[in-house]
């Protein structure tokens, strides 16, 4: 009996075709930009005036509206349209609540109000902020921009996907998420940028092609949370630095608008805001030294 012959070039071609079908990469990007909101195209320059802050402050915190999301690339095993997508309003509010909670207990901050994106119109500029300031009694607004890029790449393990079982058990998809969140703090009446700071997060993971879309969404949410936590730490430092800068009478040094920090009637925490509160306080070390000295003197008296 004659054995069937398999052509080696044919086998190579089949494997190459399978490998090509298995490989692929998808990139998802979400962005929102505070400059597009405050200074939409065609807007005349809006010069900042001198700042007069009255403590305690009422602060609003919001994501800049008009975010966009885009996808590129493709993969034989993953539906690219199921990946990523715009950050939801619920997610945004949860992140804003985190910031509000972190800064709400400051003595010089009367309140921190998360503002839903629905209250902000795309390209609404300072007129939109003026309306909000009047409606919510805000002095200062923290506007958040973000840029999140997610990459999904199929590894060589994807050959096992053709066994079908492999697509369910082999984690051959490499996912990477990079998130950058920027906070710009504006004094609404003067249109002046008081200070800005940022937070970021980079994370990676592996998943099966079946769970890839869900893993990417979950990584996106986690990465936003971590970037916001990083931002909170940096905002804290930024706020301290701004308070110290405010003592010099300028918002951000030479050439920037002048700033005057006043206290509302009955409020006396300006020094705390400016980080200039000091006390002449005797510490434990001095008390211990005094104790040792008194003890020694008593001992000498008793003996002598």
């Amino acid at each position: 009996m004659r054995r069937p012959t398999v052509s080696i070039p044919l086998v190579v071609c089949v494997f190459a075709a399978l490998a090509c079908c298995s490989c692929g990469s998808i990139a998802v990007r979400k962005t929102s930009n505070v400059l597009d909101y405050l200074y939409p195209e065609g807007t005349a320059a809006i010069p900042a005036r001198d700042v007069s802050l009255t403590l305690p402050l009422r602060v609003g915190v919001a994501f800049a509206p008009g975010g966009t999301s885009s996808r590129s690339g493709g993969s034989g095993w993953i539906d690219a349209t199921a990946m990523g997508g715009e950050i939801t309003e619920a997610q945004k509010l949860e992140l804003l609540e985190r910031i509000a909670e972190a800064f709400g207990d400051r003595d010089y901050i009367a309140s921190v109000d998360p503002i839903p994106s629905l209250y902000l119109s795309s390209g609404g500029s300072f007129e939109n902020l003026d309306q909000l300031a009047q409606a919510m009694g805000l002095n200062v607004v923290v506007l958040l921009s973000y840029d999140q890029a997610q990459f999904n790449e199929t590894s060589n393990w994807s050959l096992t996907y053709w066994t079908v079982v492999g697509a369910y058990v082999v984690k051959g998809e490499n996912n990477q998420t990079q998130t950058f969140v920027d906070a710009a703090v504006y004094d609404i009446p003067s249109r002046a940028l008081l200070f800005r700071t940022a937070g970021s997060d980079v994370r990676g993971g592996r998943s099966t092609p079946i769970e890839s879309a869900e893993a990417v969404r979950s990584e996106s949410a986690k990465s936003f949370e971590n970037a916001i936590d990083d931002l909170i730490r940096n905002l804290d430092d930024g706020l301290k630095a701004f308070g110290e800068e405010a003592k010099t009478g300028r918002v951000r040094g030479q050439g920037t608008p002048a700033i005057e920090v006043k206290a509302a009637p009955g409020y006396s925490g300006v020094a705390k805001f400016e980080n200039g509160r000091y006390s002449g306080a005797i510490g434990v070390v001095e008390l211990c030294l005094l104790g040792v000295l008194l003890g020694g003197a008593a001992l000498v008296r008793r003996r002598g």
Binding site: D107, E244, K247, S268, G269, V270, A271, K272, E274, N275, G276, R277, Y278, S279, G280, A281, I282, G283, V284, V285, E286, L287, L289, L290, V292, L293, L294, G296, A297, V300, R301, G304
Partner: protein, 213 residues
């Protein structure tokens, strides 16, 4: 040690009682505390009165306990030195806070005066004690108080004070200034005594001469 008088240290008692009662009233404290903007606007008294008020009860207790113990000790032995160290401490701290510490916009507490009296009392013991060990201990205490303040001031160490008000930091420059004022007070007294002794040795007074005869 010699020269202990039984008189009541009323200057110290007055200082402590006044500082405690002023610190007890937030409204009064607010009018007396140091605020750079207010001082520059003409309320100059705040530079001095700030050292009589305290932002928290535990801070007042710690500061005034040191003032009471060291001031009382010193006043019973040398009222002039106690007064000199306290007034010198007040002036030195006022100068340090307003003149050299531009980052300070708000200041309160009498730790500068306490440091002045502490250093003065310790140096007084070092000069007058008959016990060598106590003299060494006193010198070490003075070195300790200066070293702690210097580490805080220049090395950035934060050895916190007792019961600081919320958001406040210790101003080690106040302790350094107070300590230097206390040391200067003792040096002044010691210098005066040294001169007196030299004068007595070289030119005995008629009374001593008559006594000797």
């Amino acid at each position: 040690m010699t020269g202990v008088s039984t008189r009541v240290p009323w200057l110290t008692t007055l200082f402590v009682a006044l500082a405690a009662s002023l610190s007890a009233s937030p409204a009064v404290s607010d009018a007396l505390v140091y605020r750079r903007a207010a001082v520059e606007a003409g309320e100059v008294w705040r530079v001095f009165t700030a050292q009589w008020v305290h932002g928290s009860a535990s801070m007042a207790f710690a500061d005034l306990a040191v003032v009471a113990l060291c001031g009382g000790f010193l006043e019973r032995r040398h009222r002039g030195l106690a007064l000199g160290a306290a007034v010198g401490g007040l002036l030195a701290v006022a100068l340090a806070v307003h003149g050299t510490q531009a980052q300070v916009t708000h200041f309160d507490g009498s730790s500068g005066v306490a440091a002045a009296l502490f250093v003065a009392a310790a140096l007084w013991i070092a000069l007058r004690s008959g016990s060598g060990r106590l003299r060494v201990l006193s010198i070490l205490a003075v070195v300790g108080i200066f070293a702690k303040a210097a580490l805080e001031q220049w090395a950035g160490w934060q050895l916190t004070g007792v019961g600081l008000p919320e958001g406040a930091r210790v101003l080690p420059a106040a302790h350094l200034a107070g300590g230097v004022a206390g040391a200067c007070g003792v040096a002044w007294i010691a210098r005066g005594r040294g001169r007196e002794r030299t004068r007595c040795a070289s030119d005995p007074s008629p009374r001593i001469a008559a006594g000797a005869a």
